[in-house]
């Protein structure tokens, strides 16, 4: 998939950084499943993130664990984007409320 970011010579990967310092390197295309991340990385938005490719999430609580699950979800979504029968993704019940909040924040 020829994304506009590639055309402009921006890296194919982006980094998501949690408030407690964990970094997750993801395919840009996968990360853009999230509406919020996509807006952050949009080259026309002129956000700092769009040039550095590093997105920090200070707002998400316990963000290391949550962001790990978010990253897992983004890849799950990316991997299954063309499938007809998408398998279920399991998330631990103790994280469900945090992920609910994260889903709202990340718009995905």
């Amino acid at each position: 998939m020829a994304s506009s970011s590639q055309n402009q010579g921006v890296s194919e990967y982006v980094t998501l950084i949690s408030s407690d310092g964990f970094e997750f390197v993801l395919l840009r295309e996968a990360a853009c499943v999230s509406g919020a991340i996509r807006r952050m990385l949009d080259p026309t938005s002129r956000f700092k993130e769009s040039t550095t490719g590093r997105c920090e999430f200070a707002e998400i609580k316990h963000s290391g664990i949550v962001l790990e699950k978010v990253a897992e979800y983004l890849y799950y979504n990316h991997k299954n984007r063309n499938r007809e029968d998408v398998p279920d993704m399991e998330i631990p019940p103790e994280l469900c409320l945090e992920l609910l909040m994260a889903a709202d924040y990340l718009d995905c």
């Binding site: 984007r81 063309n82 993704m89 019940p93 889903a103």
Partner: protein
């Protein structure tokens, strides 16, 4: 309890003290001191109200013979001289366990003594108060229903009549025992034969708004009457009732039925009687140029007749894929007629695009629930996707909600929500809880469980009982048009279809989707 006043042993010199103090009960105790039929309740607290726990607690003090003891608060509270140390223990409020499990360092004797010495009005309660409670409050309708179900189970009575009982709620726990229903086997020629039960459940004329999921797990259910309730939406589980012969859902204010109800008309189901009117069903409003072909376009019954005259008007050149997929029972004539445009919903269930037919219409100004029918060549186009392309993968919100529905803490999640949280969260969690109660919803396209639907549309299906060749012919004959005006209209049943992703839309359009893959 080391610093509690140690009471005299039971056997301790009873003669010295008068037993005539109007406490005759105690005397009985003396004969069998340790075995008491009184409720197992004891607290060493003078007064169990919460204010007493804010500061250092006052110990209970005793004076005089044990059987005339009352908590110190009853008397003027002078300290017991043998009890100089106070408030050493860190306090934990343990009404029961402190005594009966001896976890406070007491032994059984001590606790028995303590119990006797306690204030009677505080001591006696539990068991009695429960008995009083059931006497005073009339049992709730559901308790009565439960008793009746138990009675039917015991007697092997297949007909469970719960009609006109002011039921507002029917929980899964009430219905669940019925799954184990078995008949009293008849003896024929000295041999017990096992017969399949034919359960009949009558819930007519109640105030039910929801139905429990367990109701749809009753495989042996043959008759189900939900007439005159307030059920606005029938759970999709209804399609699972394989042996259902009679279904009555009239007078409920329903605007549509679940798409899964078509399962009842398939070959392996046994439905004979299907009573759905009157209800508040959505009616199809055909576009002007098409209805112009019908001479008297204002007569609503023409909708049905027009369709029969030109059966392929709505979906030209093909029959709906669903018609091909499921073999319907020969007793029923079931065919797809029309659909509305597709309504697209956001991940949180808010309306994004397309017609809006939510339950609010029910209370709105619209007198007749007419919905415009989609044009023949209508291609539902979803709003722009969040990512680079449309996909069938569920949203993270959906994944999290599914996880919520699996936790046993579901009822408490709402109170555990962090503050502030988006205002739609409580609504979503309520949806999750409701789905747990009345059964899951499946995508009618890809059969996947979902919590938040992403697409919705209503299809009108013509459902009619085949009365043999003669009957069908007469219904279609022009001579009897006026007579059957209502029949024809009422055959058009609106069915709600829901999809789990923006790709789950009416099936004719699969080819177009490949072009839709947008790159951003």
């Amino acid at each position: 309890m080391a610093d509690e006043p140690s009471l005299p042993r039971l056997a301790c010199d009873p003669i010295n003290h008068s037993f005539l103090s109007g406490r005759a009960r105690k005397r009985v105790r003396l004969e069998s001191p340790l075995i008491s039929s009184d409720p197992a309740l004891f607290s060493s607290d003078d007064d169990p109200s919460a204010e007493n726990y804010t500061q250092g607690r006052r110990k209970q003090t005793y004076r005089g013979p044990w059987y005339s003891q009352r908590p110190a608060s009853d008397q003027d509270s002078q300290d017991f001289p043998d009890n100089p140390k106070k408030s050493k223990r860190t306090f934990e409020r343990q009404f029961d366990s402190g005594v009966w499990l001896g976890s406070d360092g007491t032994d059984l004797d001590e606790s028995a003594d303590g119990m006797l010495s306690n204030n009677e009005s505080w001591n006696l309660p539990m068991r009695q108060s429960r008995a009083i409670q059931t006497k005073d409050d009339p049992p709730s309708p559901e308790v009565l229903a439960r008793e009746q179900i138990e009675l039917c189970l015991e007697e092997g009575n297949e007909s469970i009549d719960l009609s006109s009982q002011c039921l507002t709620l029917l929980s899964n726990a009430t219905i669940r025992p019925l799954a184990a229903f078995s008949c009293v086997p008849p003896v024929t020629e000295g041999v017990f034969s096992r017969i399949e039960p034919m359960l009949k459940i009558f819930l007519a004329s109640n105030n039910l708004t929801k139905l429990p999921a367990e109701l749809f797990n009753l495989n042996s259910l043959t008759v189900l009457s939900l007439r005159a309730n307030r059920i606005y939406e029938l759970p999709p589980g209804i399609g699972k009732l394989r042996n259902l012969q009679e279904l009555n859902i009239s007078q409920n204010g329903m605007q549509y039925l679940p798409f899964e109800i078509l399962d009842l008309f398939s070959e392996d189901h046994r439905l004979q009687t299907f009573i759905i009117h009157p209800n508040n069903f959505f009616q199809a409003r055909f576009p002007e140029q098409e209805s112009a072909q019908i001479i008297q376009k204002d007569l609503p019954y023409k909708i049905g007749l027009g369709n029969r005259a030109r059966p392929r008007r709505v979906a030209p050149g093909r029959i709906s894929a669903d018609e091909r997929r499921r073999p319907f029972s020969p007793q029923w004539e079931v065919s797809y007629k029309a659909r509305t445009e597709v309504r697209f919903l956001d991940i949180n269930g808010s309306h994004l695009k397309g017609p809006n037919f939510s339950n609010q219409i029910l209370f709105g100004p619209q007198k007749f629930n007419e919905l415009p029918v989609a044009a023949v060549g209508d291609i539902p186009t979803p709003p722009l996707p969040r990512g680079n392309q449309l996909s069938r993968a569920p949203s993270l919100l959906e994944v999290a909600l599914v996880a919520c529905s699996r936790t046993p803490q579901l009822p408490y999640l709402q109170s555990m929500l962090p503050k502030p949280c988006p205002e739609y969260f409580p609504r979503l969690l309520a949806t999750v809880a409701a789905k747990k109660e009345s059964g899951t919803t499946k995508c009618t396209i890809c059969d996947r469980d979902f919590i938040v639907p992403r697409t919705e549309w209503i299809e009108w299906w013509e459902i009619a009982k085949r009365v043999g060749e003669k009957g069908m012919a007469s219904a279609a004959s022009p001579l009897r048009q006026m007579e059957n005006e209502r029949d024809v209209l009422e055959r058009m049943v609106p069915l709600m279809r829901r999809g789990c992703s923006w790709l789950c839309v009416p099936e004719t359009l699969n080819i177009e989707w490949e072009k839709m893959a947008v790159t951003i």
